[in-house]
Point group: C2
Chain length 566, copies 2
């Protein structure tokens, strides 16, 4: 029981030296690698860079206590940072104290939502974010984030949270482009793209082992940060207009309890809910993928509690909303992390940097961070999936396209909500006109197939109608129409058998329709029968009066009905 | 073609004398019977009584041209009047010119919505109003309407459109109760209830034929109107505070085109949509019921056009939103109407009354009309259905209860929208955790049944898993969990066969999950197979790469898979 709520107890007692070595190395590598992205994502959310570091310490430690994934690394991630920025700028001015405060309230709120969902075992809730909606949302967010970094890459200001807002603020400032910033930004961008594309094969060709080559290729952002920081310091580029990170207060964040007021909580509730859901989906799908590789399992409901605890920790230590991040987790996994202790070591490493070495980041150019974000985020833009979805299903594609368009044009919240609403509506529409087939007997067997597709035996006075869908409110009336049309078209009919092998549910509306069908067929001297009703559906029907008023019988199999009427 | 859009052409050419006699009689009876309720429903909507008459003339004539039901009588009905009142009072003050104008815009808007839905064949849209939601909505509306009439019955004023608003406005005015009004109201109420309960059996016992007794019992409101009007005139009760209908302008309504402004149209859009849907559902279900009794069919999409035309007519002739009314249709049907001509005759009768006899209604007490409404509306309060639904399905009951509560507490729109949203959410929740079963072979047959319920043969190295639901985004992850848990619990497994006999749809999210399952099982050296995939589902799968990457095979039947692995 205790182990279920404190998964650390499942592995810490068996911890030993060999694991320690692997975890310490992974922790060290992660510390170095995630510092640039942590700073960058805080800036993306419109927050001071140091907030990204704060949000990588206590949240990760709490996830180590409560999380079930062995390799997940928790901290600020791009999508959540973008959503955080959009949410905060609707309630406060970027740069103001109120904005910082709102970030903490948002983290707390998100933490509370996640913990409550976990306690109520509501992990299934995230299933309503269908694959096309998530994929479309990520693509649109990738484009949005890339657009948001254009200004920083050019050394001019841009603002806004929809694509059009972003792009419209650029042209008036184009004359102010800073050549040094542009050089740093575009240079870093080219270096990172080149390293990503040619780095690993190139280094392997030079004789390096594959794992080392991979790690070096992934460390691109670290080299870029080191090189551009040194260059900016050496040539004093800050004095010619290159924007740098500047003074980062050193020392650990103080504990604070950002209560805020009810107006603020209310304004941030929907954004917090969406941030929680999106973060949870991103985190849990990655956690499941990695767990499967090592034949481990993670518990989605406990993950909610782990991520919730991490966000609560972010809220009280001057952080920002966090979740399991794609790139930091992959780094952690590839660096050989064996247990969640690796994450804890990385958190301690970042704490050490925050306490002692923030001065080293003074001359880090913002443009370098912008290039880092842009390169990592453009992998989210997933054109092949768009194409595959179009080929596979028009209605899934519609949900995806609407999500992308709404996200780009109307913003993140509208995009997700609109996409989910459309997915649901399309699903209901698809199931509202269920496929049904008149079936006949395949000669000399007990199999029954569609009379229009197969050469089967039929009986003139009985119709065997197979309904290929659960019966519920959206298709109840359609069922009535189908049966009435059938009876109207065949005056010689005496029996209608509904074959329910694909009916997994009959709700109250459908029951009402069955009652109506039964009564109207009775008026026409046609008997209604059921066949192959599943156990759970039958249990339900027995709780109503329908079976007593049914004019016909309930057959166990279609064949039994056939024998009766042929 | 023309006949499809002008259903009058299907019956008018064959019209003959015998039909004329029956229709004329029905038209006369309907004229007399529906005048009191037409006046009453206009008052219920906060409109002048005469609007109810106007809305019973041209709308009914247009429905005769475009409608497909032989017996439906179109005019103001209680629920729609209540919804109209709620919608209008949010945009104008009752009694003002703007309020009257808004009523016309609402009718036009509703007419446009209905015609467009009909043209686009969107009749299925009304299916989303599930039976529990409609039933709950009617029950709550019955209570609301009865509460709204309490003031008129007591002779004091009350206002508001939620139950609490209504009831809160009564007590402060209780001291102003008018004894004469109270006497007329409660007397009429008792008379109508007694006639409804004992009228028909009593009259039959006196030797009257059943049909005549029935008609007399139904004519209760006409007698009450006549008696209380005469009494009020004779004793000049208006002078002692009994509120009467007063002067009704005589003559037909002038044609007008109430364009209004875009703000008004926008404010009334959602109410108009709900009024259209609720009116359509009420009308079409009654039309279908009566058509079935005579082995006729109605066309729901053409009904949308008929009702839309009726509402457009109401909008240009100083009316109010209309639909096929329960009580007026039943009167029409029972009075022997054979064709829609009966409705046209009733419309002409009401036009005649409006032109020449409105003076007779001057002394008609409002309290009489209130009693008429109350008695007819309380039949909507349907406690048995509430009980049956509770017994049949808790989640359907939840949708019903929430609709009732929201309608009473928050108002009509919130009630319907909340009920529909909850129905949809509950349906998605139910299908998000589909029933699945490991099956085995019933000895010596080709049948496969749940291994937990039946004594069946199994194979140790292959698992046959039957999924009892379409696979889509809400249950895709659940499917993954099910399969992974299965594989984790049986290390000896080499083959997993998914039996898809109940799978009617695989959407893009589920396809993604199947891909993931296939890949992860491959990592564990377990092959994934499918069996009994339906034609339409298979067609879809062929458009993706899934079948190429599938590690196993697609079996036509479970038995074929069994033969391979047993």
């Amino acid at each position: 029981m205790l182990k279920r709520y404190l998964p650390i107890l499942t592995w810490l007692p068996h911890y030993h030296k060999r694991l320690l070595g692997a975890d310490l190395l992974a922790g060290l590598i992660v510390t170095v690698m995630v510092i640039p992205q942590s700073l960058a994502y805080a800036l993306l959310a419109g927050l001071p860079a140091v907030v990204g570091l704060y949000a990588s310490i206590l949240p990760q430690l709490l996830y180590t206590l409560f999380g079930t994934s062995k390799a997940l690394a928790v901290g600020p991630v791009a999508i959540i940072a973008l959503m955080t920025g959009a949410a905060l700028s609707s309630v406060a001015t970027p740069g103001s104290d109120a904005y910082l405060q709102a970030a903490l309230v948002l983290s707390l709120l998100s933490g509370v939502i996640l913990v409550v969902m976990g306690a109520l075992k509501m992990g299934f809730f995230s299933n309503f974010l269908s694959h096309p909606v998530i994929s479309g949302f990520l693509t649109a967010s990738g484009i949005l984030i890339a657009a948001s970094q254009l200004g920083s890459l050019l050394g001019i200001s841009s603002s806004g949270f929809t694509l059009i807002e972003r792009l419209m603020t650029l042209p008036p400032n184009l004359s102010a482009v800073n050549p040094y910033t542009l050089a740093i930004g575009s240079g870093t961008l080219l270096f990172l793209v080149a390293l990503r594309r040619f780095g690993k094969p190139g280094l392997c060709a030079l004789g390096l082992p594959s794992a080392v080559a991979d790690l070096i290729a992934k460390a691109g952002p670290v080299f870029a940060v080191a090189a551009t920081t040194l260059a900016t310091w050496h040539w004093q580029l800050a004095e010619v207009g290159v924007e740098v990170v500047g003074t980062i207060p050193s020392g650990l964040p103080a504990l604070s309890f950002p209560w805020g007021d009810t107006t603020l909580w209310r304004a941030l509730l929907i954004p917090a809910l969406l941030i929680s859901l999106v973060g949870f989906v991103e985190s849990v799908s990655m956690g499941q993928m990695l767990a499967a590789k090592r034949r481990q399992r993670i518990s989605p409901n406990q993950e909610l509690i782990g991520l919730g605890a991490a966000n609560l920790a972010a809220g009280v230590t001057s952080g920002m909303p966090v979740t399991g991040g794609l790139s930091r987790t992959v780094i952690n996994y590839d660096a050989g992390a064996q247990t969640p202790a690796a994450g804890a070591f990385a958190a301690l490493g970042i704490a050490l940097v925050t306490m002692s070495f923030t001065g080293w980041l003074y001359y880090l150019p913002i443009a370098t961070l912008a290039a880092t974000i842009t390169v990592s985020i453009l992998t989210l833009v997933d054109i092949p999936t768009l194409r595959q979805t179009w080929r596979y299903s028009r209605s899934d594609f519609a949900a995806m396209a609407v999500t992308i368009l709404l996200t780009l044009v109307e913003g993140i919240e509208t995009g997700i909500i609109g996409g989910v609403a459309l997915s649901v509506a399309l699903f209901l529409y698809r199931t509202s006109r269920p496929h049904s087939a008149l079936v006949g007997r395949v000669p000399d067997t007990e199999h029954f197939r569609n009379i229009e597709r197969h050469d089967v035996e039929t009986a003139s006075r009985a119709a065997l109608l197979r309904i290929d869908e659960s019966l519920y409110f959206a298709n109840a009336r359609y069922l009535e129409d189908t049966v009435y049309n059938l009876v109207a078209s065949r005056p010689e009919l005496e029996h209608v058998v509904l074959i329910c092998s694909a009916v997994n549910l009959i709700d109250a509306s459908a029951l009402e329709s069955l009652d109506a069908i039964n009564a109207r067929l009775k008026d026409s001297d046609v008997k209604l029968h059921l066949a192959e009703v599943k156990g759970p559906v039958m249990d339900h029907l027995k709780r109503s009066d329908f079976l007593e008023s049914l004019t016909g019988r309930v057959f166990l199999s279609t064949y039994a009905a056939w024998r009766e009427f042929s």
